[in-house]
Structure formats: structure tokens, C-alpha cells
Amino acid sequence: MNDVTQRELLQTFSRLADTLVDDYDVVDLLQVLVDSCRDLLDTTAAGILLADSQGRLELVVSTSEASRLVEMMQLSAEAGPCIESFRSGRRVSVPDIEHTHDEWLQFRGAALAQGFRSMDALPLRLRDATIGTLNLLRAAPGDAPEDDIMAAQAFADVATIGILHERSIRESEVLSQQLQAALNSRIVIEQAKGVVSHTRGVPIDEAFTLMRDYARSHNLGLSSVAARLVDRSLRL
């Protein structure tokens, strides 16, 4: 990491701290986090997966909505670095995806096909519990710079705080409610992508970009824009 990105890193944390103060959109916050990983760290693509009440990991945000990337992240959550990090609560580094064991065959195939050669999965941890993972993918093989991993783990911790609110951390019931709320927002975002895809006659990925641009230019949360598209009170 050079000096410029260090300054940018500080700016990012400052922006995140601002976000956390008041009423905020968790999905927006997490999106800023993965975009920051891509822009500031040595990372080609990033995504955050959260566990639902049955312990299944679902992708909540990623740097691209391209279906192949989304599918690959989910494969990693079935048998790959992502689920391993989630289960162990530890960072899982994969410096060479090409030479991983065969249990990860599907994940390996999907990752290599998209040009990814190395990956790190970091746990979103709260004391003993792991609520999800942050996944960083790189086009080049090899270990990630240690500074990058430190920054990424800090991002992951901010994400955890963002999801849980520090006040309610002790109550496990609230924890699962808030996790579920974040996952439900994602459902509505997917539905809204479908709505915009139809009304604007564009592919699903492009629909997401339109929604996001609208939310940003109107200073609105992505989740609330999605909810209004789905209940048809907003037309794009």
C-alpha cells in the first residue's frame, strides 16, 4: 500500500464512521466496504456473505453483480474458502487457487474460469460467533500484502459493527433479527432488479446500476429505493 492509498483508507474509515452515526442502510454500508476493498487494496473483486437463521451463507453485496461472479461466491460458500472461514472463524488464505484440493472442484473451476488465481476469506466475527465472511479475490497468484489483510480485517470488523449496532450486541435475538433484516433487504434488491430489468428493458446487471445511480443521485438508501420499486410507488 502506498501513501496515497493510506490517505484514502483514512478517508474511507471516516466516511464509514459518519455513516454509522444515524439511521443508515446496511446494504449501502456493506457496498461501500467491498468497493473500498477493490479500489484501495490489491483486490480484483470482493464480496460479503452473511449467514441466515439456518446457517446458510448468502451473498449480500459484491463489487460486481455479474451472475458468474455471484455464482462463484456462492460456490465458495458451499465448498470453498468462504465456508471454511465461516466455520473456523479464521482467515483462510488461498495463494494458488489452481492447486487446491478436489473438494473445492466446483469453486476452483468457476474461479479459474473468471481469471482469479488467489483469494482470502476473512471472518465477520463477533466474540465467539461468526456471522459471515468477507472474500477478496485477486487475478495474480500469491499471498496478499499483509497490510492489505489488516485493512481488510478492519473493514470486516466495521461491517460487523454496522450490521449489529454496538448497542444491541449483547442480545442474540436482536443479532439474528438484524442479520435477517440485512438478508431481507437483499431479497427486495433482487426483486427490484427484476422490476427495473422489465420496465427499462435492460439486463439484470444493468438494472442494478440504474437503481444504484438513482439512489446515489437522490441521496437515498439502496434498500429503500428497492422497496419502493417493488411496491410500485417508484418507477424508474
Binding site: E58, E190, Q191, A192, G194, S197
Partner: protein, 237 residues
């Protein structure tokens, strides 16, 4: 207005009784000037079965139609439109020669059938009969149609559950995403809620013997489209 008050409570009765078809009959009897009501599934999707009938005559009207393969419930199901026969003694024999003859002999004067449909899937009808000749106004016809739509969702949900179709079973997280996206496309195509759009996909999948995932993919690829014409929803491939 008294009529709309009773319509409101009838809607509530249906809403609160997703698993009690006999309550649907009560709801129709409480709003419309009829003698009896019956709710039945007919045709290939869910088979032919009377789910509830308010009296023996209503049950008999449905049975006759199952056996004869003709009658207002078949027409309503096939067309996805209400079939109104306020004067079955004069109009019935032309449309349904055998069926009309039987019900006229049994003292039925008016018959109305409303289709059970979810999206493009048509799987039954509600038959209303009256011993004395009656007409349904346009408002009453619309109200009965709206009630039949609610009943349709309950009946399909219940049927899919009883068949043991767990829509989540064996579906990966990635597929769930596609199903949510396809629900969005469908709700925009035919102007329904997100929950109903999902049920439309589930019903369509069941009716054509495909997985929800496959149907969702077809919707997203534009190979399968739903269109609305009034209350009728069609599917185009």
C-alpha cells in the same frame, strides 16, 4: 353502504381462513343473493375435486359437471373469465345440453361460475347457484371475482404444500437470487405483489412440471413472459 360492509367482512373471512374452504362458501353466501356455493378444483393441474360445498345441491352441481365434462365451471376455468347464467332455463340448454337439463329439473334457476387462477395457471372454479332467478350486478360480479382471486391463492398454496412441494428444497442460494429477480420481472409484467409473483412462478413450475429455478431462468432470459388483459393472465413463450 351495507353491501360493501358485508363484502369487506367476506374478504376478511377468506383472508383469515387459508385452510378452511367451507368458510369460502360462507363468505360468498353472506354477500350475494344465492342459495348455495361450491369450491372445486377441476382439470389436469390439480385434478377434479370438490373442496367445499354449502349444501347437497351445490355438491351435486359440481359432480354433474365433473362427470359430464361440461358446464359453467369448465367454461370459467378454460376462459379464466366469469360465466354468468342468470336465466339457465332459457340459455342453458344451448350451451350445456345435458348439464342444463339435469339442473333445471332439480330446480336451479341461476348459475354463476368464477375461475380459480393464479397467473396463467387455471385449476378450478367457484360455482354459485340460486333456486329463484337472480342477477348479479357489475359490482357484484367484480366483487365475486376479487373473492375468487383470494380463494385461488389459498387453494394453490395449500395444494402445493400438501403435495409436499417445498419450494426451498434443494435450491441453492444462487438460485434463490434468480427466483427473486424473476419475481421482480413478473410483478412488473402483471402488476401483482412480490409474494403473488413468486406464487405465479411456483404455480407455473408445478403446472408444467419444471423446477422454479428453470422457470425463473426462462423469465429472466425473456423466453417466458406473462401478460395481463383485465383479470386474465396469459403466458407467452
Amino acid at each position: 353502504m351495507a353491501v360493501s360492509a358485508s363484502f369487506g367482512s367476506a374478504i376478511e373471512t377468506i383472508e383469515r381462513a387459508p385452510d378452511q374452504p367451507e368458510r369460502y362458501c360462507e363468505a360468498f353466501l353472506s354477500v350475494f343473493p344465492i342459495t348455495g356455493a361450491a369450491v372445486s378444483t377441476i382439470g389436469e393441474v390439480l385434478g377434479s375435486e370438490t373442496l367445499a360445498a354449502s349444501d347437497a345441491q351445490s355438491a351435486r352441481i359440481d359432480e354433474l359437471q365433473f362427470d359430464l365434462g361440461e358446464g359453467p365451471c369448465w367454461d370459467a376455468m378454460r376462459s379464466a373469465l366469469p360465466v354468468l347464467a342468470p336465466a339457465i332455463r332459457t340459455t342453458g340448454p344451448k350451451k350445456w345440453p345435458t348439464f342444463a337439463q339435469s339442473v333445471i329439473r332439480e330446480g336451479v334457476s341461476s348459475l354463476f361460475a368464477f375461475p380459480l387462477t393464479v397467473g396463467p395457471v387455471r385449476f378450478g372454479a367457484i360455482d354459485l347457484y340460486s333456486a329463484a332467478p337472480v342477477r348479479l350486478s357489475d359490482t357484484q360480479t367484480k366483487q365475486a371475482g376479487a373473492m375468487a382471486e383470494m380463494v385461488s391463492r389459498h387453494v394453490l398454496r395449500r395444494a402445493l404444500t400438501s403435495i409436499g412441494e417445498d419450494p426451498e428444497a434443494g435450491i441453492s442460494a444462487y438460485s434463490r437470487r434468480l427466483i427473486h429477480q424473476a419475481s421482480g420481472v413478473v410483478l412488473a409484467q402483471i402488476d401483482v405483489s412480490a409474494d403473488d409473483a413468486r406464487l405465479v412462478i411456483q404455480g407455473q413450475a408445478f403446472a408444467v412440471g419444471k423446477s422454479m429455478m428453470d422457470v425463473a431462468q426462462e423469465i429472466l432470459d425473456g423466453r417466458l413472459r406473462f401478460t395481463r388483459d383485465g383479470s386474465r393472465i396469459e403466458v407467452a413463450e
